[in-house]
């Protein structure tokens, strides 16, 4: 429990200060780092607001895929380990069904990550990878 301003408002204020006050007077060799710092403040502000819901969604989707519950990070790693093929042998066809089910679920989780890290990156704009 803290008084106002909120953590989000403080991080946005730090980002504004870095971009508008610090950046113009900064040595060119450090400007990129200042921009990165400001951008990270905005990312963390969005993360604080969005991640609790996103984490719950990821956990539910991943739990269904791997067949048991757990922390979302552990389920994410377990799914990756199961789906990673051998470096030489062809992928195990017994896992095709899991891979097919995982694709849309993982894409939804990645979209939630982008909403924090790079909003708009997944908006169709004629963009083809």
């Amino acid at each position: 429990m803290q008084d106002e301003p909120s953590a989000t408002a403080l991080l946005d204020a730090v980002a504004d200060t870095l971009e508008q006050r610090v950046l113009p007077g900064t040595d060119p060799s450090v400007q990129h780092q200042v921009r990165v710092a400001a951008n990270l403040c905005r990312i963390v502000a969005r993360e604080a607001a969005l991640d609790p819901d996103a984490d719950a969604r990821a956990r539910a989707a991943l739990a269904e895929l791997v067949g048991h519950d757990g922390p979302s990070g552990a389920l994410w790693a377990e799914l990756a380990a199961r789906l990673t093929p051998d470096a030489v042998e062809p992928p195990d066809p017994a896992l095709d069904e899991l891979a097919a089910a995982a694709h849309p679920a993982v894409l939804a989780i990645v979209r939630d990550k982008l909403a924090v890290a790079k909003p708009g990156y997944d908006v169709p704009s004629g963009a083809t990878p």
């Binding site: 060799s29 990129h32 780092q33 990165v36 710092a37 951008n39 990270l40 990312i43 994410w76 790693a77 799914l79 990756a80 380990a81 199961r82 789906l83 990673t84 093929p85 470096a87 030489v88 062809p90 992928p91 896992l95 891979a99 097919a100 995982a102 694709h103 993982v106 894409l107 990645v110 979209r111 990550k113 982008l114 924090v116 890290a117 790079k118 990156y121 997944d122 704009s125 004629g126 963009a127 083809t128 990878p129």
Partner: protein
Amino acid sequence: MTVAPPDAAVLEAGFAKALVDAGWTDPTVTVGATASAGANRRTLMIEIDSGGTTTPAVAQLGGIGLNSLSLAVEGRVVALADAAGMAVAAPLASSDTDDAVGAPFLISRRVDGLTVPRHVLRAVAERPELGATLARQCGTALATLHAIDVDEVPEIERLTDPTPILAYRRRLHQLADMAPPSPAIALGLRWLAAHPPEPAPPAIVHGDARNGNLIVDEATGLAAIIDWELAHVGDPMEDLAWLCLRCWRFREDDRVVGGFGDLDDLRDAYVEAGGRWRDDAFRWWQVARTIWWGLALRLQAQAFVAGASTSLVLAASGRRTAELEYDLLVLIEPT
């Protein structure tokens, strides 16, 4: 952690000696500003006076990174590309030892032009025909590189055993074993295993030809392709796919080639200059290099997490991984 700048007098003497060894007459070297200082390398502006003329040049100093070439070997590969007629910054002298100036170095002719991607894209926005010209010139340049006999460069890595496709898959699996896990990457690796393209004869691959490693003249277009430290022998379509990845379009997503050009211009020029365009290999390498960059970002972030680096830029890589995961999942989306 950057390469420390050695004393200017030591550099000037060491560079001059290397230039004499390369056939220059009584060269005098003047070291100017540091153009960039990265994790492994430092780039200095220098002037070479010899026989009454001044030659602007750049000197790169430093060691080698993961899977990258030494500066002297890099110089030999660029010299081959130069001799074949490709637009490059011609190498003038090099050293593979620390003896002369305290670090290995490569001196190259200075090529003027834009290199920062947003500057290149701003020039293209002002003069749209520049974008098509650039895309065509990239196609011609890469076809010229890929036509070089691979036996002419014995020292660079051959990612060809038993085929470039299988060798690169093995490389990706090695990186994936070191990086924090991702089901998106795992799905990408499954796709690669299931969709091998028809093989083609191996060629010299630049490895990092993309917007950011192009020197662009606003009037005439492509002046040089630089930064050859990832050059290797492999599948030529790797270069064309990497040039066209979304992460090098800098939000100009509808212009597939580096954010400045159309795929047709790149492909037509590549084929006209003797290159063999393979659609299935183009797609395979788009997926493979998207996985590679996604893994590289994960490893950068891991270096920060493990305490091996305090770089904020590396830390921020941990919030860029989703972009590559997204691009990858769209590339392999079942149709």
